[in-house]
């Protein structure tokens, strides 16, 4: 009896062990995104599996929580073989360039000839190609055409016109309608752009590990948001919070057009457009530039990147899959513009030929606009520091709830933000 039990137990354990060995041969591939990206990527992976006979396990989520999940995996050395990564994660995971597999060592599987060296430089640390940028992106304005027409307004071309649109929306369409909707991370990027145009300086002074603004400028930064809420240009954080914690594009007021504009990544715009209730449509707005500004202050960066795990047992296989997605005709066609307009020259040719790459796509027309705008003041990689963005969100919420004045919020952000920057920007 006892022998039998022990035998059963060991057989069970052996079977369990056997199944983990079988799984180890799968290639794991993770990314974040919206539904359309999930569908396209899964479809591309299916094609790859059929062609190569390999098995790929896909792990995909929305943006929220993805970094936390990946961090835990990387800390435990259980990250997927192939990962979609973000530009500002490089200083976190690979400050010295040895956090990911050097993609240049995989040249037999991964063709880099279709990428400009300047693009590759964005993913290179200490001469090692940690991440391969797929596309470039920036935050720009998009508006709900239908609702703006209902309000009887043309899209704004200056900051003043944007500010003036709020009262018109309120009067013509009602209290629930706003020309724009901004969450904390949108506000911080938009206000930074305005400040670059006005003063010609970035927000973060990396060399001194602090803010580049004076205290008065920080107050102005917060005042700009307060004015936008006051003028009914954007719903307050308090109002947005009353719909619960969810992605903006899933909120009903976005879907039904009450929130009629965005300051959003051109590469992410289609998931917002797709969620609008037909027949409403989204259109590209002009980018407002102050008179005499030398730079637009665009937050311009690689839209997203791909990295291969340094702990992967099969980096060559991961590189083959990546090559299929970025360099091979079939992969390129299935992926389309789901990760923005490709930096890869051959991919652009393929997509232009089959008609995917045309200006009717909002991410494409957005990129054309971005390429025309002056971008002299680059954005620090620490600008998107999650703790800094959360601190900003917290302070504007406290302003919206009347717990802090504009000055108090600005000073509290300044003080605590400096500590965050000192910790994040390693000497």
């Amino acid at each position: 009896m006892i022998r039998k039990s022990v035998l059963c137990l060991s057989i069970g354990l052996a079977m369990a062990a056997g199944s983990t060995v079988a799984q180890a041969e799968e290639l794991r591939f993770s990314w974040w995104g919206g539904n359309s990206r999930h569908e396209a990527t899964n479809a591309a992976v299916d094609v790859y599996e059929a062609a190569s006979g390999n098995v790929v396990k896909t792990e995909y989520t929305g943006w929220g929580g993805h970094l936390e999940r990946l961090t835990t995996q990387i800390a435990g050395k259980t990250e997927p073989d192939l990962m979609q990564t973000n530009w500002n994660w490089l200083p976190i995971f690979s400050p010295k360039g040895d956090g990911f597999h050097d993609l240049r060592t995989l040249s037999a599987q991964l063709d880099l000839s279709q990428f400009d060296e300047s693009a590759l430089a964005l993913g290179t640390i200490d001469g090692k190609l940690n991440s391969l940028p797929v596309s470039m992106a920036a935050r720009i304005f998009y508006f709900n055409e239908t609702v703006w027409a209902d309000a009887g307004l043309d899209f704004p071309t200056t900051w003043d016109e944007l500010m003036a649109a709020g009262p018109v929306f309120q009067e013509k369409l009602g209290d629930k309608y706003f020309p724009l909707v901004l969450e904390g991370r949108d506000v911080i990027a938009m206000n930074r752009s305005y400040m670059v145009q006005k003063y010609g300086i970035p927000m973060i002074d990396e060399a001194n590990r602090t803010f580049a603004y004076s205290e008065d400028q920080m107050v102005e930064f917060f005042q700009l948001y307060a004015d936008m809420v006051e003028n009914h240009v954007t719903p307050s954080s308090k109002y947005i919070a009353s719909f619960g914690a969810a992605n903006l594009y899933e909120h009903k007021p976005w879907i039904n057009g009450e929130w009629a504009g965005l300051y959003m990544w051109n590469s992410a715009i289609n998931k917002y457009g797709n969620n609008l209730q037909p027949p409403m449509t989204l259109a590209l707005g002009e980018y407002p530039i102050l008179d005499g500004a030398a730079s637009s202050g665009l937050f311009y960066k690689p839209g997203l990147m791909f990295s291969i795990s340094k702990n992967s047992d099969q980096p060559e296989e991961a590189a083959k899959l990546l090559n299929f997605l970025l360099n091979e005709k079939e992969g390129i066609e299935v992926m389309g513009l789901q990760r923005g307009v490709p930096l890869n020259k051959y991919a652009r040719e393929v997509l232009a030929e089959n008609g995917t790459l045309n200006n009717s796509d909002l991410s494409v027309s957005g990129l054309a606009l971005i390429n025309e705008l002056p971008k002299q003041v680059p954005t620090s990689g620490h600008f998107e520091n999650p703790q800094l963005v959360a601190l900003f969100q917290e302070n504007i919420e406290q302003m919206d709830h009347g717990q802090k004045t504009v000055e108090e919020a600005a000073m509290s952000f300044y003080k605590q933000g400096e500590r965050i920057l000192r910790r994040a920007i390693k000497k």
Binding site: K238, A241, S242, F243, A245, A390
Partner: protein, 295 residues
């Protein structure tokens, strides 16, 4: 005999291994990490009690602690009172009572799942079910999730609604109260209310105490509901301690400070529980007691 012990150990080995790997190891390592500066990726560096010292001046720490206590003191009495009340009602011998016992337990089966929290968000959202319903009564919509005090209430109600497990335990306790005592009281002319407060309550105090401890330790660790429904907002009004720990450790990559926060929570729960235990001898009556304080 010895053979049996080996087999016994083999049978419980999954639990022992689980305990060591998933509880004991993280428990000890978090204590060590709490004395370091560790970003999950680079090697941890020892910083002594810096993390604990920083906590003393940390606004968010106090805010989050206050929110957590408010949550616990709101949830526990409501939940226990509700569970006891429903258990009391379900203890009557009525037709179809088994159906109701099951029905009231269902919310608890759903547990602390994300799906339920998403449902809750849909109910309490500004354009949600609740506002639609009160709209029919002519009441203007309320920003349940947008106003700090309402947001806390909305999150609390989710856990109060899941009173099933406490209720089942109460129900078992109520059924163990000897009928003879009620009969004796009835002969003496006691009212229903007197019987409830003078017989039922004293006899089930051990179970009330048990439920109180279980629910309190759980409430101190609540995470899913505020994370999914409000993400800790608005203006940190539902930013429970567990959320602060999670964000510090996994969003801001400050494992050292996150671990220190976790240990402070552990100590607070331990103190709270031991105070409860100390107080219990004044109000919990075990069978065989003469009642009141043990001599």
């Amino acid at each position: 005999m010895y053979e049996n012990r080996k087999l016994g150990l083999a049978y419980i080995s999954p639990y022992i291994i689980g305990l060591v790997v998933f509880t004991a190891f993280p428990f000890i390592s978090s204590l060590i990490i709490s004395f370091t500066d560790y970003d999950l990726i680079s090697t941890p560096s020892f910083v002594g009690v810096d993390n604990y010292a920083y906590m003393l001046g940390d606004e968010t720490f106090y805010k989050s602690l206050g929110v957590t206590f408010a949550y616990v003191f709101l949830t526990i009495p409501l939940k226990l009172a509700f569970a006891l009340f429903i258990a009391f009602v379900l203890n009557f011998k009525l037709r179809g009572i088994k159906f109701f016992r099951t029905a009231y337990y269902i919310p608890s089966i759903l547990g602390s799942s994300v799906a339920i929290a998403v449902l809750w968000r849909a109910i309490f959202s500004l354009d949600g079910l609740l506002n639609t319903f009160i709209g029919y009564l002519g009441i203007p919509p309320v920003a349940w999730l947008g106003e700090p005090h309402f947001a806390m209430l909305s999150v609390t109600l989710l856990r109060v609604w899941q009173f099933g497990s406490a209720m089942v335990i109460f129900l078992a306790a109520l059924q163990s109260v000897p009928q003879s005592q009620y009969e004796a009281a009835m002969i003496d002319g006691a009212s229903k209310w007197h019987m409830f407060t003078k017989i039922t309550i004293p006899l089930i105090t051990p179970v009330i105490f048990f439920n109180f401890i279980m629910q309190t330790t759980q409430a101190f660790q609540e995470f899913t509901a505020p994370y999914v429904i409000t993400a800790g907002g608005p203006a940190k009004s539902t930013y429970l301690f567990s959320l602060y720990i999670y964000e510090t450790a996994f969003k801001y990559f400050d494992m050292g400070y996150g671990s220190a926060l976790a240990w402070v929570l552990f100590i607070i729960v331990a103190i709270f529980t031991s105070i409860s235990f100390k107080s219990s001898k004044y109000w919990v009556f075990y069978s065989g007691d003469k009642g009141g304080k043990n001599d």
